[in-house]
Amino acid sequence: MIEETGFGSKKESSVPKPKNRLIEYLKIMIKDKTAVIGLVIVVGFLGWSVIQGILELLFGTSGPAVALLPHNPFNYNLVVGLHGPDLTYLLGTNANGEDILSRMLYAMPRDAFISLGVVLSAVIFGGILGIVAGYRGKYTDEIIMRFTDAFLSLPALILVLALSVLFNETLSGVILALIIVWWPIYARFFRAQTLKIKNMDYVQASKLNNVSFLKFFFSYLFVNSIDPVIAYAALDFGNVILTYSTLAFLGIGLEPPIPELGSMAANGVGTLPTGWWYAVFPGLAILIIVIGFVLVGDRMQDIISNRINY
């Protein structure tokens, strides 16, 4: 279908897109102010998480792992107790006198890594199932689709809760539960894309060339379905963080004494109305982080579906 948009003729591409489109997308994204804010937040969050995360992995709770933080998050000071935000403790302290800002900064890498792990696994697992469903069609398709329907119709939180409990509420159980709940949407995406490009010329042509199935699978189907998936995944990071922190709020998947943004908020809520900062700031941090991902993901989706103009 050729559209007249004035761009010159825009044809449905019958040739795989060039590989440097990530740069192209970034360039377009930068033009939009809100997307830039989102990008700053995301890069800041991920950057910090990587740095601090590596330190935590290597050094646990001591020494260098806390060197970058304003205070040692595990130093409790019962004399100070529950103290509001001031110049020393920028976001206040909790009932044990531990600095909230430091605890939050210490907790962030976990959210980042877990979210990353979950989304990646969901994309891969969902991708495999989705492509198989789309490519094979008929019964395989029907079965896989009924599965995704079943999962997608349930509230994510309830299902994740149930599964986490089944897995004995360990951290790995929680991660597994998240992956199980998250893969269906990606299966849907990949399936839709596979159906679209399955009959396109270059796919048929590769079949004629006797390309091996695995190579075919990855270099054609997976790679060319990836665009809308990446855009959605960017958004989804935020969703996983939201769900994960809510689980932490409910007390699941914790590994004390390591702080978790959600559980900090839970403790804070317990001391309301005094000590509101302990209840509010962790949630606020999550709010900002998720907004960042949503802004970036949203913009990417717009760009990929070619809906942008100003």
Binding site: R146, P155, F249, G251, G283, L287, V290
Partner: protein, 343 residues
């Protein structure tokens, strides 16, 4: 009702049943992967992590846990369909009874909350679409961005902090003033019970305590609905038939709030179901913060105490509720949009 519509409904109902069965089978398989033999299964069902061997053996016998798996699945499914969700050892009551107590309380604030968010969301979405790229659009977008990205516990906590504690407008916790005695349980829903018994003081207290959770639910789902409505409206406004309507000489406002909204609201029924499913998840946190003892509270207690039967029962009932809601939505969709019936 013509035969096309009837066959459509039947098809949708069959889909719903299959989906439910798949879910039940999946959960069962999962349980059996985790607890591969009857004894470890018994540990799950006993609700007591320190049960002795003989107690476990008793549980095995009682629940028939040493029967082949497919029999257990069939048994379980049959039980579900007859309303037997098992016996909750934590509360010492059948699960179905507990659901009968707690679910209505949750629905009392969830249903109004969703209705509120749908009505407001629909018009806000249409408004944002009509004022696209103007300041009003950005304000709306900013608002639903914030409510969407906010973790539920932040939203509920802030509401509680500002409105209940700081401003003192509404009670902070509880479902009802604890000094009052409840009217007799005739109609399962506390509000209806109060009306039936003409206990107006109790009714007012109930409503007072319900407002904040309801607002929390409304704000939670509002973002989703506004966003979906806005984008559907924008899609409709790009169609040929919308342009043709304008070409006929229909005024822009009439075209937007008449034709566009009418077409964009067809998926609305689906949105309501989405919002409902989402709200059920949010209710767990909201009820925790507001100490509102409804379904969310029950679920939380079950999670906290590793009450497997409770968790299983609540998950399945919520699954049933959502699947039924989806079915209703599908059917309504078919009624509203003549094109769907041909499918």
């Amino acid at each position: 009702m013509d035969t096309r519509t009837v066959s459509f409904i039947i098809r949708r109902a069959i889909y719903a049943v299959i989906t439910l069965l798949i879910l039940i089978v999946f959960i069962f398989v999962l349980i059996h992967v985790i607890a591969p033999n009857p004894l470890s299964l018994a540990r799950l069902y006993a609700g007591n992590p320190h049960a002795t061997l003989s107690q476990l053996k008793g549980v095995v016998a009682k629940y028939g846990l040493n029967l082949p798996i497919y029999l257990q699945v069939l048994d379980y499914t049959k039980n579900i369909l007859t309303g037997n969700f098992g016996y909750d050892p934590l509360h010492d009551k059948p699960v179905i009874t507990l659901i009968g107590i707690y679910l209505p309380r949750t629905l009392e604030f969830v249903l109004p909350g969703i209705t509120l968010s749908v009505i407001i969301g629909l018009f806000t979405g249409a408004y944002a679409a009509s004022k696209r790229r103007k300041p009003a659009d950005y304000v709306v977008k900013g608002f639903y961005l914030a409510t969407w990205s906010m973790p539920t516990f932040l939203l509920a906590a802030v509401l509680q902090l500002v409105i209940a504690y700081d401003l003192g407008l509404l009670p902070a916790i509880g479902m009802v003033n604890p000094t009052l005695t409840a009217p007799p349980d005739v109609l399962a829903f506390p509000i209806l019970n109060a009306i039936w018994a003409r206990d107006w003081v109790y009714l007012v207290s109930l409503i007072h305590h319900m407002i904040l959770p309801m607002i929390a639910i409304a704000l939670l789902s509002f973002g989703l609905i506004t966003r979906l409505t806005r984008s559907t409206m924008l899609d409709v406004m790009e169609t040929d038939y919308f342009r043709l309507t304008l070409m006929k000489g229909v005024s822009r406002n009439k075209a937007i709030y008449g034709v566009a909204l009418r077409n964009a609201s067809i998926p609305l029924v689906t949105y309501i179901v989405l919002a409902f499913a989402y709200a059920m998840g949010g209710a767990v946190v909201i009820e925790d913060i507001f100490s509102y003892h409804g379904m969310g509270y029950y679920i939380f207690q079950a999670v906290f105490n590793l009450d497997y039967i409770g968790i299983l029962g609540t998950t399945v009932i919520i699954a049933i509720a959502v699947i039924v809601a989806n079915l209703v939505a599908d059917i309504l969709y078919g009624v509203l949009d003549p094109r769907v019936r041909l499918e």
